[in-house]
């Protein structure tokens, strides 16, 4: 696990060399504190910050092939590298190291871009073909590892994090794009490939890019979540699906325990992380350390379930107790790492948790992300099911009451009144609408626009949704509403938020690598073939997973009602001591200067927050969103700076 950065000169022959690479790689040294490697070619430069996990001695990057015509840097893991290496050696390839990285160069020699189909892993790859002068970039299927790029004055810059790109050249424009900001204040994350910074793109999950001097940049999707392949014609029993799912998950966990350092696991107390932890315990001999977050507030706390699992499996357990104050204090640092506005504080506890993992000298944790998206776990799926059920008989007085069964864990439940719930959940919306399941959430979130400045108000809700439709219509055509909702949650919530802002960035801030057994592409492809009505049987979420794990988990964990992972939002900033930085980031001058929000409205919101009364969804999202936008503005636009040491330690220049 590591950080990568580099450049490719599209329209100039001058190679800016190692100084530029040092400037780019230093800001992501948290991702790889064990040393830096560089290679400067005729047209491209590659930089690598290393966190040693596999082949601790020999795993320096960049790595080249036999005749040094191909150079690769890579962030992530290829879990099936041993099998791939065996095959490649049989075909005559000679390996100079024992690292998984080297597999990529040899496989690329044989298959070029088709090599990606053979990789089971989580990765961002940059490979330079020195002979053809081609830069090849690729990202894993689900988007676990990040990769950003921009083209500026004829040079393409790429890196694991945006801060490396900004550090490359002070003349690079650093500007917040109001269209994308509007998307974040509607969908919770950017809806497409452009980040909140104008002109800075992420290479999307399941895509590769080729960059040449002649043709510039071209992009191609090599894999997508195959929801359309549901086993429609086949007749399989739930138990058969459950059994096969379990076998696949066991294999996925085994592959993900491959490392030359000990591997731990996050344990939230929910079904997904409990599943992973139990599979590690039952099917491998990995000595298990588990890590959890606890909260004082019972709305968020799951320690009873965590303790039950710890007792059940006898793991060596460690806890980060998260207080309001800790979340508030960490928040600006959290945003330095998310590099994007967020509407929830939920990443902050995971930032604190990865620090705990590092303090225990662990570098790798397995976690349960992805199960909700691919196996039908989210309330938004349940909500859509109930809404469509109500719509089938709008005269029924009892059907709307089903909405009351949703969200019982929320103190201010929107379903307290079924009459209002009918309105808020748009039960009259047409079920075949492209975004049927998501529209109620987006409308609620979109109402944060009450705080927008006149300038930002020009970006409207309908445009944001239309842009998304333009991107996804082809992908969603022919799918039922349940599969559509799953696809969108996988692409947007999982890909552009959970795996990035809440996943990679929070773990890598403390040099910890997350691994995700549910996101093994074999598991994802299999899950997509399970009929939706088996995944969510009536209103029983993740039915097949529960069946698969029934004998490997305590019954209370299997049967407990899903509690989504959340952290206190507004409350984190208005406890006994308000963080001093609030007056800086949210001062009317700073708000006016940034230009996205109405300073008077923000002031009113602060007054309301200080009353410490309970607040609704909109105010919570708005507050966290406004504060994080202001921090992004201050840290990345107004005062962007990274302090470079005179020289970097532990460097290798490979040529």
């Amino acid at each position: 696990m590591c950080g990568i950065a580099g450049y490719f000169n599209i329209s100039s022959d001058n190679s800016p060399g190692v100084t530029l690479l040092e400037r780019m790689i230093h800001p992501v040294s948290h991702r790889g504190p064990d040393g830096y490697g560089f290679h400067v070619g005729r047209r491209a430069g590659l930089a690598h910050a290393r966190l040693s996990i596999i082949d601790l001695e020999g795993g320096w990057q960049p790595i080249h092939n036999e005749d040094k015509s191909l150079w690769v840097i890579f962030n992530g893991e290829i879990f099936n590298y041993r099998e791939l290496r065996e095959e490649l050696e049989e075909r005559g390839h000679r390996f100079a190291t024992n690292s998984d990285t080297e597999v990529i160069v040899h496989l690329y020699e044989e298959k070029q871009e088709h090599c990606l189909a053979y990789l089971n892993g989580q990765f961002a790859i940059a490979l330079y073909d020195a002979e053809k002068e081609v830069l090849f970039l690729a990202r894993d299927r689900m988007g676990v590892r990040p990769l950003f790029y921009t083209i500026h004055k004829g040079t393409l810059y790429f890196a694991s994090e945006v801060k490396s790109i900004f550090a490359a050249d002070p003349s690079l424009p650093r500007e917040i794009n109001p269209d994308v900001l509007r998307e974040i204040f509607t969908f919770w994350m950017p809806g497409g490939s452009e980040t909140v910074f104008r002109g800075i793109h992420q290479l999307e999950a399941g895509h590769w890019a080729r960059v040449t001097a002649g043709a510039g940049l071209s992009l191609r999707e090599y894999w997508d979540i195959p929801y359309s392949t549901a086993d429609r014609g086949r007749f399989r029993k739930e138990d058969e699906y459950a059994e096969e799912l379990r076998e696949l998950l066991i294999d996925s966990v085994r592959l993900r325990l491959r490392a030359d350092v000990p591997v731990g696991a996050y344990l939230s107390g929910g079904l997904d992380s409990s599943t992973i932890t139990s599979l590690i315990h039952h099917y491998t001999d990995n000595p298990l350390k588990t890590f959890s977050v606890t909260f004082s507030d019972s709305i968020y706390d799951e320690r009873a379930e965590q303790n039950e699992m710890v007792e059940f499996l006898g793991t060596d357990h460690h806890v980060e107790h998260c207080t309001y104050e800790k979340i508030g204090a960490a928040f600006p640092e959290v945003i330095w790492h998310t590099e994007t506005p967020i509407l929830r504080t939920a990443p902050a506890p995971l930032y604190l948790l990865s620090a705990l993992v590092r303090d225990h000298r662990y570098k790798v944790v397995l976690t349960g992300e992805g199960a909700d998206e691919i196996l039908g776990g989210y309330d938004i799926f349940k909500e859509a099911k109930i809404r469509s059920f109500i719509k089938k008989d709008i005269t029924s007085a009892s059907r709307p009451l089903l909405l009351k069964r949703l969200y019982p864990y929320l103190a201010l439940s929107p379903t307290k009144s079924a009459e209002f719930a009918k309105e808020f959940f748009h039960t009259d919306a047409p079920v075949d609408d492209l975004f049927y399941a998501h529209l109620p959430r987006w409308k609620t979130t979109g109402r944060t626009s009450v705080f927008f400045s006149e300038n930002l108000k020009r970006q409207n809700f309908d445009d944001a949704v239309e842009n998304l439709a333009a991107r996804f219509t082809g992908k969603l055509a022919g799918l039922d509403y349940f599969s559509r909702a799953q696809y969108l949650e996988s692409k947007l919530l999982l890909g552009n938020y959970l795996l990035s802002s809440q996943g990679d960035r929070m773990a890598m801030a403390h040099s910890v690598e997350g691994r995700f057994p549910f996101l093994d592409h074999r598991v994802v492809e299999f899950a997509c073939a399970i009929p939706p009505n088996m995944k969510m049987k009536v209103l029983n979420e993740k039915n097949i997973l529960k069946k698969a794990m029934a004998n490997l988990l305590p019954q209370t964990i299997v049967k407990r009602k899903k509690q989504p992972y959340m952290a206190p939002d507004i409350l984190s900033f208005f406890g006994e001591n308000e963080p001093e930085y609030l007056n800086y980031y949210l001062s009317p001058q700073m708000v006016a200067e940034a230009g996205f929000f109405n300073p008077k409205a923000v002031e009113q919101l602060l007054i309301k927050c200080r009353k410490k009364a309970r607040q609704g969804f909109r105010e919570n999202m708005a507050f966290v969103g406004i504060l994080s936008t202001q921090i992004v503005y201050e840290k990345f636009v107004k005062n962007f700076s990274v302090t470079m040491p005179k020289r970097l330690d532990n460097i290798k220049i490979i040529s």
Binding site: S417, F424, N598
Partner: protein, 84 residues
């Protein structure tokens, strides 16, 4: 004694807590809170908490319906019916 007309109180509560810095003219007394997107699903309960506290009344579950709560005028009528 006639009960005080609570319209002004309601308007100032709505502006302070849900409209923040919006213009006085942006909300008519018959405008639907839901249609205008002024109050979201959780906002309704915030509104009810305020009603109960400010007007010393108890809002029953079955009274949690748009006919009672969805505009300034509906709220005024509801309050006067509950407190008369």
């Amino acid at each position: 004694m006639n009960p005080p007309n609570p319209t002004t109180q309601i308007r100032s509560f709505i502006f302070e807590n849900f409209l923040f810095d919006a213009d006085e003219s942006s909300l008519g007394n018959d405008d639907s809170f839901m249609e205008q997107g002024i109050i979201d699903s959780t906002g309704v309960l915030e509104l009810v908490e305020w009603l109960e506290e400010t007007f010393s009344m108890k809002v029953q579950d079955e009274e949690l319906v748009p006919e009672n709560l969805d505009s300034v005028n509906k709220l005024t009528a509801f309050i006067s019916q509950k407190t008369s």
